[in-house]
Symmetry: C2
Subunit: 437 residues, 2 copies
């Protein structure tokens, strides 16, 4: 499918089936923010769950954290965000529109009113959202919405070290909303002012920085492919020296082939000891590790794999979107990994006849304690298969009239289209096996 058309189909599917809605749509939308609908929240939860499982649950060297969004100016002063997290903006003196100077195609002409040489000098515009805490709006009461979750992990480094009995190499992981006052949000949920991050700060002895950076580059690439992302849609791009952030001794981006070209899914950076030292200097607290075995005291280096949950979800949707034919009939199918699919199964009574409903609902109740399961009894069975294919449901469980005799149901596989008959009593185990891994 041509790429622009693919993007259109995915956006259309997102709206039509309830993955993503423009925020405040009944009021005409609101400034490039999005709401995640009934299917979107299920898939977003699955993306986050898969990350948490790989990064925290299945390891014993990473712990979790959930820091506040409203945060102290001193954090952002120490991190450098107050001074440096900026875009250069110019105003047109004629029409008063404002633009990012680095995105002007012709720096002498206003793209809005076509005035010549009408731009002011560029001013640095900070991308952090500012608000006031308490009843007085003055400098003493400023708070910022965090522009990244990372700093919450750095300022809690000593707290985690003291309470969790971990020692380097170990990590702190966090998922949550971050906010950046982007001048040019766009590409659907790729760049939005409110977005959800999945970040992990992995603290290591300084001498091991390079090897752990490699380790996490490999591990993170594998996470995407293990979840079914085709390897040819994915690449690891190392930043060259000019592109590196001032704090970084090495950065690589995991990039996805979006319909508009390669774009970032995740950044993996060797942040060195920059952050811990900056917060130690600003706070006067010691942010270091004392290794009792060697008698050595050091400030750990930090390797940070930082991914975007919402754009990751979009990438998986794009990669999974397929149109094929079944029995001569066109169908849309989301070939999502079962871990990411909104519903793991759908229970479909063959006909809406009341005779099948009690058994179908019994099967539903049997599965619900274990998984998100859909239930659909309207229209033809073929139509209902299509509906489930389109939202990526791996297994359809059909209850038919024979079920009333043999207490067995049919499991239909979304991808192979194979159908097998399974006793209701064996259904949970059968699905557990198919949904493991």
């Amino acid at each position: 499918m041509p790429e622009p058309e693919l993007m259109e189909q995915v956006v259309n599917l997102c709206k039509r089936r309830g993955f993503v809605f423009p925020s405040a749509e009944i009021y005409g939308g609101f400034r490039s923010t999005y709401d995640y609908g009934p299917l979107g929240i299920l898939m977003l939860r699955n993306v986050k769950e898969a990350w948490w499982r790989a990064m925290v649950q299945c390891r014993d060297d990473v712990v979790g954290l959930d820091a506040a969004i409203l945060s102290a100016p001193r954090i952002w002063e120490a991190s450098g965000h107050l001074a440096n997290f900026t875009d250069p903006l110019v105003d047109c003196r004629k029409c008063n529109e404002r633009f990012r100077e680095d995105q002007l195609e012709d720096p002498t002409t206003c793209p809005n009113c076509a005035a010549k040489d009408s731009f002011t000098e560029a001013r640095q515009f900070n991308l952090m959202f500012k608000t006031f805490v308490g009843p007085v709006e003055d400098d003493a009461n400023v708070a910022y919405l965090r522009p990244e979750t990372a700093q919450g992990m750095f300022v809690n480094f000593a707290n985690v070290l003291n309470t969790s009995r971990k020692k380097p190499p170990f990590g702190i992981a966090q998922m949550g909303k971050s906010f950046r006052n982007e001048i040019t949000p766009g590409n659907f949920v790729f760049r939005t002012r409110e977005f959800e991050q999945m970040e992990m700060e992995f603290f290591v002895p300084p001498a091991e920085g390079a090897q752990w950076f490699e380790y996490w580059c490999d591990a993170r690439m594998r996470w995407y492919t293990d979840l079914g992302m085709p390897a040819d849609k994915l690449r690891l791009r190392h930043h060259d020296a000019e592109e590196l952030s001032h704090y970084s001794a090495g950065t690589a981006d995991v990039e996805f082939m979006y319909p508009w070209g390669w774009g970032e899914l995740e950044g993996i950076a060797n942040r060195t000891d920059f952050d811990l030292k900056a917060h130690a200097a600003a706070s006067g607290e010691k942010l270091e590790y004392f290794d009792q075995a060697s008698g050595e005291r050091y400030v750990p280096y930090v390797i940070e794999p930082a991914a975007g949950a919402t754009r990751t979800m979009m990438a998986f949707l794009i990669a999974a979107y397929t149109e094929d034919e079944v029995g001569g009939e066109a169908r849309t199918v989301l070939r999502l990994h079962h871990r990411l699919a909104p519903f793991k199964a759908a229970v479909l009574p063959l006909s809406k006849k009341d005779t099948l409903t009690p058994t179908a609902r019994e099967v539903l109740s049997l599965l619900q304690p274990h998984w998100m399961v859909d239930y659909d009894e309207t229209q033809s069975i073929g139509r209902r298969y299509r509906r489930q294919d389109e939202i990526g449901t791996p297994f359809c469980i059909t209850v038919d009239f024979e079920t009333l005799e043999d207490r067995a149901v049919t499991i239909r596989d979304r991808d192979s289209l194979d159908q097998v008959r399974v006793p209701i009593d064996a259904l949970v185990d059968e699905l557990r096996t198919r949904l493991s891994g």
Copy 2:
């Protein structure tokens, strides 16, 4: 234990074991915000998961949603929050301190500087946090941090109805952060400016409002007791006529006996058709349901069970906190329901001898794909049991020298202290059985 002491012990445990830290603590804390540490995030996730499971996963009449935090002024204008979500504030003309008029003990005397009759007239202070989206800070660019998740469900009512094939009675559920610029936050994480809600809007035919209100009052009380909350720490308090919000035809609070007295855990309200009508009028969109069977068109009533995730977590911690004796030795134990416990199990090699480590780590790897499992090999086994008891881990799995012979481990139950020997091959099934329900 005397109540003030109980609260002190719980707060102390939260800090000492990594449940809750004051935000930006290395900078002296920040305005009554809190960060959830390695154990706190696990327990908070479990509270939210238990809510989601009961409210969405195990039902087929409720779907999820995740709306943006940054939100349009028009939403809050229509909902009434811009006009009415306020506290009355007075300034002392002498010292310039600001107070909530309704909390002054002596309305003629400044509690800060003791000046007499120094207060200004009360002004209404809006509790919503305000920020600006885009590069210009003017009225056209105002956004508010949502003070509740509820409105996100109302403005998406039509989107959900059109995409999800649900019809009344059905609900939309959402968990997420909300923000209120409280003048007097306090009682640890009971009242904080940033907090996490678990809200569900259940849309019903107007005539069924009263019966569904009763249904949800019962269901929500049962949710807490099913998760082990003692019934005598819990009560349902119906608001009397004067206390009711202007939009409500009935409200009841689920209250918990906090160490400082009865306080709200959750509010259940019959919000009538107030919200949908308000947004329909303000947006010009139809927010109603057309029942094809009866040919009837109506604006549904809404029953809303709205709980606070963070204060619910605190209530479960307080209720679970126990000090008892085991073998003549004092221990602290969190008698948490297994669904809420941060770790479901801990793997403990009897000694740190290298001979046991490979098998202990094999057992750990066997369990990690299924549950959050701790691993601890430092200090005596008794000490390690105490550590796990204190954080509520239901099961300790001990790997000893016999394990190397018989490939079996010992499961110790936190509450009964029973120990049983189980083959490693049967361990996952054994734990699955114990952790079901």
